[in-house]
Symmetry: C3
């Protein structure tokens, strides 16, 4: 257990002090700015009592606060709002959730090579940039991105990848043997994959319009997920040694179908379109794990711990482009009166379908720019030498930051016991 040299008091205190600082700052912001909104406050909710209150409560809120609605205000990903309406509702929680998703994706690129303090600082920076990027896309450009192919996946992935590039460690092969997957952990990780698979349709459809919008988003996401699962198995066996499947591909690429329809699932993508998109995403993602990740590391010096480029980066960009295509094909015939909820600006005649498509494309570039510049800045921030980052030889090692009981001990006990019995 004597792996790591003793850390200095300064380094040991970084994590607790940063946690306490963030907690304190949040508490102050909450005390000053956050109030219950009408749906949550006992007095406001019961004021001017509505005849059919219960129903309205449940049925009105999603359309009111959906990311798909028109005329949104700046919605801060952290659950407070500096505007003059100091209120807070569940839709903000969903938004905060989405922002947390982007941060988790970025974590995937740098996990194991960074300490907890670095991860927290990165999260702090990313949350702010996520909010800005989302504001530009959804409120200024009025781009559609319900499931976040751009705002969550593309942004999170490239933010993390650029950051990982800045933190490049040429000596990382010293820790390489610890990065490989382990039989038990692989089974364990499949639980995560299964739950992500199951809940991805809800995830994509949560902020889309109630009714046909949510229904359509859910179904398109399911179609796409099934297609990406099948193409992952096909491609994994095709490129695997001796035709064998790779657990890492299945754990990840099977989910690419959810990422790729993030923008277009609420549009009239058609069931066939969803299938085709998912198939393509699964294939690209699997091939990425096999062929691109090693090149990224050796040529571009991007060390992508969990392969977020394959699951979130490429499928996210593909999803954004798919959104451009499907938005450009939008017609009054295909959407009928539903055009108002999916593309309000086209319905009102303020934009043509082609113009909406161009805005979508521009939104992708904005996202990539925010992600790259932000990731670069983040990398520089995380290279500040006083931060407690692990040495090259101890990356991917729990024991630096965690008290690990170790199965060695356990196995030792077992054999001890066996001897005692004998």
């Amino acid at each position: 257990m004597a792996w790591s040299p003793r850390r200095s008091a300064g380094r040991r205190l970084q994590l607790p002090l940063l946690c306490l600082l963030l907690q304190g700052a949040t508490a102050i912001l909450f005390a000053v700015f956050v109030r219950y909104n009408r749906e949550t406050d006992a007095a406001l909710w019961h004021w001017g009592n509505h005849s059919d209150a219960d129903n309205e409560f449940y049925f009105r809120y999603p359309s009111e606060c959906g990311r798909s609605g028109q005329g949104q205000r700046v919605v801060w990903p952290l659950p407070f709002d500096l505007g003059d309406e100091r209120e807070f509702c569940r839709c903000r929680m969903i938004n905060a959730d989405f922002c947390a998703g982007a941060v988790l994706i970025s974590f995937g690129a740098i996990l194991g090579k960074t300490g907890p303090v670095q991860l927290l600082l990165m999260a702090l920076l990313e949350v702010v940039l996520f909010g800005l990027n989302e504001f530009v896309l959804l409120s200024l450009l009025e781009v559609k991105d319900a499931g976040g192919s751009m705002t969550i996946h593309t942004f999170g992935a490239y933010f993390g990848l650029i950051l990982s590039r800045v933190l490049y460690r040429p000596q990382l092969e010293k820790s390489k043997h610890r990065q490989g997957s382990v039989y038990h952990s692989d089974l364990f990780a499949m639980i995560g994959t299964i739950f992500l698979w199951l809940f991805w349709p809800s995830f994509n459809s949560a902020p889309s319009a109630l009714g046909d919008g949510q229904h359509r988003t859910t179904l398109n996401t399911y179609y796409s997920l099934t297609a990406s699962t099948l193409s992952t198995f096909a491609l994994s066996a095709l490129v695997g040694g001796d035709g064998r499947l790779d657990m890492v591909h299945v754990q990840n690429a099977a989910l690419a179908g959810g990422v790729v329809v993030g923008t277009s699932a609420e549009m009239m993508l058609t069931p066939f379109g969803a299938l085709a998109a998912g198939f393509l995403a699964g294939a690209i993602s699997t091939l990425g794990y096999k062929f691109l990740t090693p090149i990224l590391e050796s040529k571009l010096k991007v060390q992508d711990t969990c392969g977020v480029h394959n699951l979130h980066g490429m499928p996210g960009v593909l999803g954004a482009l798919l959104g451009v295509l499907v938005a450009g094909l939008a017609t009054h015939e295909a959407y009928g009166d539903g055009l108002k909820s999916v593309f309000p600006l086209i319905a009102e005649g303020q934009r043509s379908a082609t113009s909406q498509a161009m805005h979508q494309l521009f939104g992708l570039f904005v996202t990539l720019t925010f992600a790259s510049v932000g990731g670069g800045l983040g990398g520089l921030l995380l290279r500040v030498p006083i931060l407690d980052s692990p040495p090259d030889a101890q990356c991917y090692e729990d024991q630096i930051y965690w008290e690990v009981p170790g199965e060695h001990e356990h196995l030792a006990q077992v054999s001890e016991e066996t001897e005692t019995q004998a």
Copy 2:
């Protein structure tokens, strides 16, 4: 890692090519036949705008598309429909889910002794037969089977078991040592049991009628599950060596209560009836694992990898018979106006309760026939020699079809590291 001899190119390509073929066929069928239905299509949904649309949307759909409704069309388990109404809705997804359940049950009988290509081919055949059997039962015989004691559990189990009989391997004991449960895997499998337990009430009640029907189905399923859990613990300790409990029993038989009320949970089974049924199912299932499985293998040459005969076969048949009994006892007094939604033909006077019971019983025989003939055909199909099935000595072994990192490596590293430190 040199377990398996190198596979020929032909065998290595079977899985990817079959996946791609199925994906392509599905895509073509989707392109030609599948369209969004009224609840999913932007134009259709908004057409002829309804005053109270949101509510109606949520409240009407289950009764419209429930398996419990009258006058159903053929509902294909694969999510497309060759009829003239080319539409698709969530109820089809539930149906597809149920079909997938039957296939997973059949997998349980042959897992470890078959390759992925064989499993895919089996699934293809079973999906077609599942659809035919369900059509005969629900639409021709107008049998009630909301939770699928017959259509899912009995069909899936006996299809798999007959198939396993045809694939009988006399030399399987060469791989026997790999089939036993392992401490860590047993804990892991309990996660699956817990989630199945929790969601079984939703599973059984999903296709039953909204309102009292779903409520009753949920409660009956809970009662039955608790009773089967208790009887599993009782019986497992009673028949276990030295009064000890067996994890395999708990993982499986505790769920038998959900299977046994699959047909009758939506009927007026009464809380006591649900308890009694669950108790019986848990007991039969536990005893089956202890006494029947070895006999099935040695005498009837049915090698049942996961014991699906105990969890799905016997409790499924028992559930079908329970449905016969409860249907036969249906009276206008007990159901009141609710008779219309549970037994529409009795309510309309087209059938007596006894006649409905006879139809239910006949439904069981139809299911067993479909399962047996189908399983036999499936077995013959899977014995085609070019299929990539594992040799007798390598059954229950991941490494033939999967790239396995192996804990050996990991343990080796650990000891290596320890030495390095020392």
Copy 3:
């Protein structure tokens, strides 16, 4: 596998016979007393058909049967009711669920040192006392406790701790080496933590009033959980050896925020209040694991297997006191017309806010009394010598009560196979 000496037939039969006895008793009670209620019975539900039945069904039930409603009858935690209304509804299931939660908490204090028969007997006693305590609190004192800081957490924890005190084993260090956490099990246990974290907001809000009440409870619980998570990480690193985090703290103390707002989450706690409460609970809980648990064991002779005192005991009491405070601060201004659903007696003028606070405080004392006396009685009951409790040297050992396949075997096989290949 020859760890344990052979058990006598009498001891071996205790568990199955007790299970069968309980099952039989429940069945008789169900047969005599339990009937479907209006929402579940086919005839009752359809009788006097209501125009807008579906909606009413869904929207009325929670307010009718919520623990927050006034004028509740005695609600038995076991799903039957001896009153003259022999009916049963979902709210009873939620109640039974909550009662099961209290029993599981008590299990946490004595796990590993007791046999299954002892656990069952304890559960039987605790269920009765839980029902009595809840009746006194909710119906006689008309105390508010939606999420059960008092009725579930405080009661369950101190019942188990006092019981563990009575069962004190001075020689337990013989089994101490088996109690430590293991790397794989720690990862595995995190699944449980994650699901508890995710569903805690639903848990706390399930019995609170529909509308603003449930919404507020959900949000307060989320805020509190996030704060306790952050404070757990801060404190764990602060008190950990060399600034390292402890998995046991994270698994448990991160949930303390859910416990601490159990009473007050449905009140106007304010977002800041929820943050502060969660922060405090996470800190106390983490410090408890580090410093208090060893003292409890060495000085007070309370052997608390899972540390329920830290996760449920102290945060539960803190939550009850927080409820006293927030109830005492209730004003007509803050709650408006919502006061009727949160504090009906204050709204009707029967109690002042201060009086309600005093009742809340008295409720805590009642709970502690019930828990202490009940735990003491339970301990005496469980010390009856004929019960099959594990000897001191075999505590925390699965193999006494379970057939354990053992990873030894598996590892043996692996090495055997490797040799065979070599």
